[in-house]
């Protein structure tokens, strides 16, 4: 597992609050036993039914690796298929006003940092990308500093997740298994585990 200190690349702006995981990955695409190919169905219904062109159908953002969203992104269903589709579409970081906690946790385990910043900074970043889609965005995981052209602001990550990315410890299974005798001892102390 690699350390994630910073992410750089072109951006893709996706405007709107409360974009739920049903919209990110409609339920019929969950009828699978593997995550392979989910990127093909990312925002599939929104892309088909939106009156305006959806950013994920817009050629200008084809090679983007940083998704810029508004508030409460990823709310609703806990389906990891949503961040899996996002990661498989080449996104390496998300910057937004806020995220649902389940989405944030699911993304972290995939090595996808979700930065949060205030509405004004996000709006300015989205406008900048819309105007100049080839602008390079640099997102520093350690300091939270986001730079894009002359735009500069500080975003944040939950401390424990930031440290996990920086230390290369964002996929926790190995850590959870590391001191397994402690797991057994906590389990053993719980009255319902031992049968009261």
């Amino acid at each position: 597992m690699s350390r994630i200190l910073s992410v750089s690349g072109r951006g893709i702006p996706l405007r709107g609050n409360d974009i739920d995981t049903d919209r990110i990955m409609p339920a019929r695409f969950l009828k699978v036993v593997s995550f392979d190919g989910l990127e093909k169905h990312l925002f599939e219904d929104d892309r088909r039914t939106n009156r305006e062109q959806h950013p994920f159908s817009d050629m200008r953002y084809n090679d983007a690796s940083i998704l810029v969203v508004n508030a409460n992104f990823g709310c609703g269903s806990s389906r990891e298929h949503a961040p899996q589709g996002i990661v498989r579409a080449g996104i390496k970081a998300i910057i937004g006003e806020s995220f649902s906690e389940i989405f944030l946790g699911n993304s972290a385990v995939l090595g996808l940092p979700c930065f949060t910043a205030d509405h004004n900074s996000i709006d300015r970043l989205q406008s900048l990308i819309e105007k100049t889609p080839d602008v390079t965005i640099d997102a520093n995981v350690q300091t939270g500093e986001i730079t894009a052209g002359s735009l500069k602001f500080t975003a944040s990550l939950p401390t424990a997740l930031r440290d996990a990315f920086v230390q290369g410890k964002w996929d926790p299974t190995a850590m959870l298994l590391d001191k397994f005798e402690e797991v057994r001892s906590v389990g053993g102390r719980l009255p319902y585990v031992s049968g009261f």
Partner: protein, 462 residues
Amino acid sequence: MAETLFHKVWNAHRVRLLPSGQTQLFIGLHLIHEVTSPQAFDMIRQHGWKVAFPERTVATIDHIVPTSSQRRPFLDVMAEEMTVVLERNCREFGIKLYLPDSMEQGIVHVIGPQLGLTQPGMTIACGDSHTSTHGAFGAIAMGIGTSQVRDVLASQCLAVEPVKVRRIDVNGRLSAGVYAKDVILTIIRRLGVQGGVGFAYEYGGTTLDAMSMDERMTICNMSIEGGARAGYVNPDETTFAYLKGRKFTPSGAAWDKAVAWWRSIASDANATYDDRVTLDAPSIEPTVTWGINPGQSVGVTERIPGNADPEALAYMGFDANTPIRGTKIDVAFIGSCTNGRLSDIEAAARIVKGHKVAKHVKALMVPGSREVAQEAEKRGLHQVFIDAGFEWRGAGCSMCLAMNPDKLEGRQVCASSSNRNFKGRQGSPTGRTLLMSPAMVAAAAIAGEVADVREMLEAVPA
């Protein structure tokens, strides 16, 4: 020091602080289903890991199961494959699985409590956001993703961070025709769909004290729709009475010890909370959503707000300042982990009895579990629905998320007792959902449009 249930249960399950800064939390009960587990088992195999505590995981199928005929093999090839994969995984790792050929099958959040697997003081995880339902028993119950399902299988633990606790008091008596669903829709309307981010919700007050376990489950179920990481009610006599004698609850001397421990983990009377909110129950009306998230709702006698979100209005094809009552519906759906329990079926049956579903409406009644279906059938309730023109189906998630053949078509409007009115949620990318209580769905099915169930209650002698 006075503590909340959240802190007591968290501390009892805390293993250690991980080098990453997260907490390693022991998970007491792990529930799995066919949609979010196959990739987790693949990861376990790839790494050569074992399932650490197979006896602490229980599996069922619910999301993809057809409700018209549950005979195997399922007609949908992919649904059959997902079931076969779950069967194989459970067999390989020694996990108990309840399929539709067993009486225990049903929606995972209905069968956990029904079997007595769900108990106070536990930490519970499931690859499904409505895991918050189990909080009704005084458990910390969290929805997780597939990689976390893998973590729980491998280690019986999650790497998580604690959240703050908001106490929500609801006081007073609910009016006739107003149900738990209306209470939680009102809470979400008031606090917003993002209001709970960073919090667990502790529900209490005289209204919650008087509620049955079914009603408390409806409330806790939709905590996630308010953005909360979990929702719970402190365990009390109602909780213990529900649990006594269930398949997996302790008996004999162990029962008394269990009750004593369950009492001890309830929040202390003088516990402090990070935030407090109070609602007045008598002021709550039957509530209906008009938009594309569960916070966009009004009382049935109200109009859609003048400042309503334009995106939601455009999607729904509704106008601001128009009454929600009288909105024509095409489909009526009663079921789901929110409102698919026996008391929900009874409440709806009371409205449906002696009436006919409007000619243009397709109406589905989908029990939350096989046991719920059997209990309802014993009481003859299935016949009430069938006589009225409802389809009486087998147990499953059905049209709540439409991963089985039960789907909306085109721009159909569905009066639904489920939990999400997101764009495309019920299987048609342009389908429209109006969330409401099961009794309100029943009223809408008969009227063919959104109606005020209170007027229909008056017509039926209690």
